[in-house]
Symmetry: C2
Subunit: 312 residues, 2 copies
DNA sequence: CATGTTGATGCCGTTTCGGCAACGGCTATA
DNA sequence: TATAGCCGTTGCCGAAACGGCATCAACATG
C-alpha cells in the first residue's frame, strides 16, 4: 500500500524532523537517499524547497506550498486506506486529538472510553496544548481533530462547531461565596484569587474585565494549569476561574461549587471551537468520533444553559 | 514536476479510457508497462481495482475508492502547480466548465471574454451537457466548475451557489401574448407551444403544471435545444419556455418578449446551481473565475427580480 | 471460422534507487 | 585555537524497478 513515490514520504519526514539525517533515521534509510530525493524534488519543481541552515533545513515559500500538497495527499491516502479497510468490516486506525486542558477532566476521557467500548480497534492519541498550539498542530498535520478556544483560526482550518460555555468562579464548598447563585468579578476579588497566566486563554478573557476594576489589593496566586488551579480551589486556597467543563466530577461530589460570572448583568462566555484541516476528508472512524464529540459538547452546552439560565 | 509514481498516472488514464491499451496510447508508453503498474497497484492494495471484461476494464468498488483518492491527488497537484506558478507572476492554466445550455447565449461568453481580457494566459474549456451529465462530469473529474439545474447533487459535489430565475414564456414581438406583463400556463396553451423534450430539465419543471390542466388541443412542437426553441419562438412559430438568461440579446433587440409565468399567483422558479468537487481546493485562476461567475449570476438574478417583481 | 482487440507474461536493456564511505562546512566545547 | 560532532552532499556500485518488444490465450465481431 505504498503507491506514492518515496520522494513524497521523504519530503514529509524531512519537514517534520527538520533535518535530512533525522528523517533518514525515522525512515530507516541512508541519509544520502533522502538527500537525493529532496534534490530531485527541487529540480523537478524548479525551485529550492528548503533553506539549508547549519542546524538543519527550513521550508521555503515553495516548500510550504509543497508541504500543503503532500499533507493533503498523505491524509487522503489515510482516508482511502480506512475506506478500503472498512469495506472488509475492519475498522481500525488512530484518531489524533489536540486539545486544550479544559477537556481533559471529563469530556475527553468519557468520550474516548465510550468510543473504545464500541470500536475496540480504534486507537487514540491526545495531546494537550495551548489554544494557538492546537491550531498549529492541526495545520502542520500533527493532529486530526483540534479543540481550542475559538479565536481567529487560519484559513487552512475549518471550524466544525462552536460551543459557548459560561465562565465562572470555582470555589470550595466552604468558601463564603459558595452560597451565591452567581458572582461578579468584583465580589471575587475581595478574596484571594487564583489567576491564570497569560499562556492560558482564560487570562485573555478575564484580563480586560479585571482592568476595568480598581486595583486588587488581595494577594493572588498565578498558575498555568487548569488542573492545578482547580485543585487549589478545592483546597480553599482561593477563587479560580474556568468553565464548568473542567470541574464536573468534583462539583458532582460537592467539593467544588461553580458560580457563573455576572459581568454587568451579562454572562462571560468562553467559546470553544472544534477544528479540522479544511482541505481534508476524514477517515470514517475519525469522522465518527468527531460527530460524537460535537454532539457531546453540544449536550453539555445545553445542560449548562439549562442549569444556569440568563442572569437578568 | 512529476513526483508521483507512474502507477497513479497510469491508473488515472486507464480509468478515463476504460482500457489498458487505450491508456497506453494516451500515455505514449507500451501497454505492458501500464498493465504491470495496474497489477502492482492491485497487489499493494490487496484487492482487484478493475473488472476485466473482454472489451476493457471497469472499476470495482475498491477501484472507485482509489479513483477518488487519485483524483484528489492529481487535482491538488494541479493546484500546487498553479500556486507555484503564480508565485513568479505567471497565471496560466485551463478552466474547464461543464454547463447547461441556458448559459451559452450570454452569461458564459460574456464572462469568458471579460476574464480573458484580464488574464490572457488562462484558457477555457466549456462543454454543454444536460444537468445530470454536468454533475457526472464533475464527479469524474472531467470539469472544474459545473452549472446545472439545482437538483439533488451527489455528496462528492459541493453547491457553491444557488440562484433562482423566473421561468417564463418566450414569444415573438408580434405574438398576441406579447403585450401582457405575465402569463399563465393556460393562456399559453391556447396557442401553439414549443415544448421541451424530457432530456431538458425545463420539461420536468413544466410537466407537473401542465398535467394539472385540461388536455391541450393545440398542436405542439417538441425540441431538445434551448437555442432552437428560442429561434423558433423568434420566428413566431409558437410559445417557448425558458428563463430570461437564454434570451438576453434577442430580448434586448426587441425581437423576443419574456413573460414571467404566473402559476396560480406565484412564480415558477428555475433553480440554477454552481458546483465543484467537494474534496478539492481550486487553483487560484479557477477560483477567481468561479467567484466572477457567482457574482455575475447573482447580479442577473438581482436585475431580473427587480424587473419582474412579485406577481401578487 | 477468420479476424481484430483485449490483458497478461517472459525476456532484456535502461533507469532509478539505496547503502557505504568520504568530503567540506559549520557549531559548540575544551 | 584545536577538536569533536553534526550537518548535507557526492562518487561508486550492487539491487530493484521500469519500459519496450514479441508473444500468448481469451473473447467479441463479422
Amino acid at each position: 500500500m505504498r503507491f506514492h513515490s518515496p520522494a513524497i514520504q521523504y519530503f514529509h519526514a524531512v519537514r517534520r524532523t527538520g533535518s535530512i539525517r533525522a528523517a533518514a533515521r525515522v525512515l530507516n534509510v541512508a541519509s544520502s537517499a533522502v538527500s537525493r530525493q529532496i534534490l530531485k524534488l527541487e529540480q523537478e519543481v524548479g525551485s529550492p524547497l528548503f533553506e539549508r541552515n547549519a542546524r538543519g533545513l527550513t521550508l521555503t515559500t515553495v516548500g510550504e506550498m509543497l508541504a500543503r500538497h503532500v499533507m493533503n495527499v498523505l491524509q487522503d491516502l489515510d482516508r482511502f486506506r480506512s475506506d478500503v479497510a472498512s469495506l472488509s468490516g475492519a475498522w481500525h486506525g488512530t484518531v489524533s486529538i489536540a486539545c486544550i486542558e479544559s477537556l481533559t477532566e471529563s469530556v475527553l476521557p468519557d468520550l474516548i472510553a465510550a468510543h473504545r467500548g464500541r470500536a475496540r480497534r480504534v486507537s487514540f492519541s491526545a495531546e494537550v496544548k495551548g489554544s494557538s498550539d492546537v491550531l498549529e498542530a492541526l495545520s502542520r498535520g500533527e493532529a486530526d481533530i483540534g479543540i481550542a478556544m475559538a479565536l481567529r483560526h487560519p484559513p487552512d482550518l475549518r471550524q466544525v462547531a462552536l460551543k459557548r460555555f459560561r465562565l465562572g468562579a470555582v470555589v470550595a464548598r466552604e468558601h463564603p461565596l459558595a452560597r451565591r447563585k452567581t458572582v461578579t468579578l468584583a465580589q471575587c476579588l475581595a478574596f484571594p484569587v487564583i489567576h491564570a497566566l497569560p499562556e492560558l486563554s482564560i487570562y485573555h478573557l478575564l484580563q480586560p474585565l479585571i482592568a476595568q476594576l480598581p486595583a486588587t489589593p488581595e494577594p493572588a496566586i498565578q498558575a498555568n494549569s487548569i488542573d492545578l488551579m482547580r485543585e487549589l480551589a478545592a483546597r480553599g486556597v482561593g477563587v479560580a476561574f474556568q468553565t464548568q467543563l473542567g470541574i464536573s466530577r468534583l462539583s458532582r461530589d460537592g467539593q467544588l461549587v461553580f458560580l457563573p460570572l455576572d459581568n454587568a448583568g451579562s454572562p462571560v462566555w468562553s467559546d470553544l471551537g472544534i477544528y479540522i484541516r479544511a482541505e481534508r476528508t476524514l477517515p470514517a472512524y475519525t469522522e465518527s468520533f468527531l460527530q460524537e464529540l460535537v454532539r457531546e459538547l453540544g449536550e453539555r452546552e445545553r445542560q449548562e444553559n439549562a442549569a444556569y439560565p440568563q442572569i437578568a
